[in-house]
């Protein structure tokens, strides 16, 4: 096989073409994150509730979703759901946009992942915070919404950021059901070039995703600093300042050997 030389200029050349479809990728990701967060809140609430049935349902759902490859769920939703809808309701789902199926799939997945994050964050706020709030006369609802949840939100933020990035990456699968997003457009470009420039086009897609990931990471790090209201970061920063004791005496250092 005579190999055509790798053409770095092509990477730059396809980026504008790819970016035109960035909005589809982002739309699918953001809608799934918003809807999935609502589902995650409901699931976390079920897992925290004292009703055993609710707990068991949430637990089973989360376990099953954790063990399901996203592509399998995507295919079940995309190929299976229209059949189900048609036979039960006579509803023809073939005209529904593919993005809807992708969003539905990623919402189902994201709600399972994120519910554990929410639950852990809620449990991480000491109970005394709630008791203190109630003892100074707030109603239980006020105590939860004004005192516990704002603190839990900050705790949940880093993991929420991770889950967001993971979801965005999994969103890349949507092209396998024929959605024209970033990668869908990439494969169209490759097809238009009669299969040439595959490596360059995929590299361009990867660069775009990488930059997106780094941006999201940065955004969450900043948000965390802002919402933290000078609590844990202040403590951390204070620890870095030369204080009364020299650093080696403080003990409990990590093994950064």
């Amino acid at each position: 096989m005579d190999t055509r030389a790798f053409d770095p200029a092509m990477i730059v050349a396809v980026i504008p073409d790819l970016l035109r479809f960035l909005d589809v990728t982002l739309l699918v990701a953001i809608t799934s994150i918003v809807l999935g967060s609502l589902g995650g809140i409901a699931l976390a609430w079920m897992k925290l509730s004292k009703k055993r049935v609710l707990f068991a349902i949430a637990e089973a759902y989360i376990y099953i979703m954790r063990c399901t490859p996203s592509i399998v769920l995507l295919f079940i939703v995309f190929y299976g759901l229209p059949e189900l809808l048609f036979s039960f309701f006579g509803f023809n789902a073939n005209t529904v946009h593919r993005a809807v199926f992708a969003i539905l799939t990623f919402t189902l997945l994201f709600s399972a992942y994120i519910s554990e994050v929410f639950r852990a964050a809620y449990l991480a706020v000491p109970k005394g915070q709630y008791e203190a709030a109630v003892s100074i006369g707030l109603s239980p609802w006020q105590a939860v919404f004004r005192v516990v949840l704002p603190q839990a939100a900050v705790i949940a933020l880093p993991n929420f950021g991770n889950a967001t990035i993971n979801l965005m990456k999994e969103g890349a699968l949507a092209y396998t059901i024929g959605l024209i997003d970033l990668i869908g457009q990439g494969s169209l470009i490759i097809a238009q070039n009669f299969g040439a420039y595959g490596i360059e086009t995929y590299t361009a897609c990867m660069l775009i995703y990488w930059i997106l990931t780094l941006l999201i990471e940065q955004a969450f790090a900043r948000l965390e600093r802002r919402l933290d209201k000078g609590q844990s970061f202040a403590v951390r920063d204070a620890a870095k300042k030369p204080g009364f004791l020299p650093n080696w005496m403080k003990g409990g250092e990590a093994h950064g050997a």
Binding site: V72, I76, G171, L173, G198, A257
Partner: protein, 237 residues
């Protein structure tokens, strides 16, 4: 709608035949990735500035891009590179016909797992207090012996839940190997699904197989954790 139960039953056993490929792909990738991942983790903790940033760049890149793109890219890149190498070595060997796509899949998933495991190992090593290394050195062990006999056994227990996560995600991730025409669980399910348009039945079968595989793996890791963590008392967590 009537589900075709007969088809479902038949396909279920067919799909199971792919479990071997899925599991060997997972196991091989994990095995291959372990050593370089550990090396990367150590580099990030105590390497020179340059090697630290190279390790960070690699991890960030792999974790920042979708695995599906890594598959698509390497699957178009690797055969050509190999071909050039073989030609350069003057061998008469047809890469495109004689290398099974399974091996390309192994390469892709090993590279991916290396980055993920490096992060796991790094955080596990960070969890072991520095005093452990110092104590080992002070009683006359070499640094290597201290690592092998003192630090790694403790770090491994810390890392196990995360390694379990990586493994489960890897099993799920290998379902994308069908893009490289590897005949794993997903690929067999996909073929049977499109053969008679029995999508729901076939994919539910595939889904059950993954559920069972992941459950078994999680139980095994739980055992390993209890056993390796015996030194800290089994009721510790």
């Amino acid at each position: 709608m009537e589900l075709d139960y007969e088809f479902m039953q038949k396909t279920f056993f067919e799909v199971w035949q792919g479990a071997g490929v899925t599991l060997s792909l997972t196991a091989l990738s994990l095995l291959i990735a372990t050593a370089p991942a550990f090396y990367l983790a150590v580099l990030r903790l105590r390497g020179s500035t340059a090697s630290r940033s190279i390790a960070r760049l690699y991890v960030s890149f792999v974790r920042g891009t979708p695995i599906i793109l890594q598959i698509l890219l390497l699957y178009s890149l690797l055969p050509s590179i190999l071909n050039v190498l073989v030609k350069a070595a003057g061998l008469d060997f047809n890469i495109f016909e004689s290398v099974s796509p399974f091996w390309y899949a192994v390469v892709v998933f090993s590279l991916n797992t290396t980055a993920l495991l490096a992060e796991v190992f790094r955080s596990a090593l960070l969890a072991i207090p520095k005093g452990q290394l110092e104590a080992g050195l002070s009683i006359g062990l070499s640094e290597l012996t201290t690592y092998v006999r003192v630090i790694i056994p403790q770090a491994l227990v810390v890392a196990l839940p995360n390694i379990c996560n990586v493994t489960v995600n890897l099993i799920k991730g290998t379902s994308l190997a069908f893009l490289m025409t590897v005949k794993d669980v997903m690929a067999i399910g996909k073929v049977s699904a499109s053969y008679g348009y029995n999508y729901i039945e076939a994919y539910v079968d595939v889904f059950v197989v993954y559920l069972v595989l992941c459950s078994i793996v999680q139980v095994l890791y739980r055992f390993a954790e209890l056993r390796l963590g015996a030194f800290r008392g089994n009721d510790w967590n």
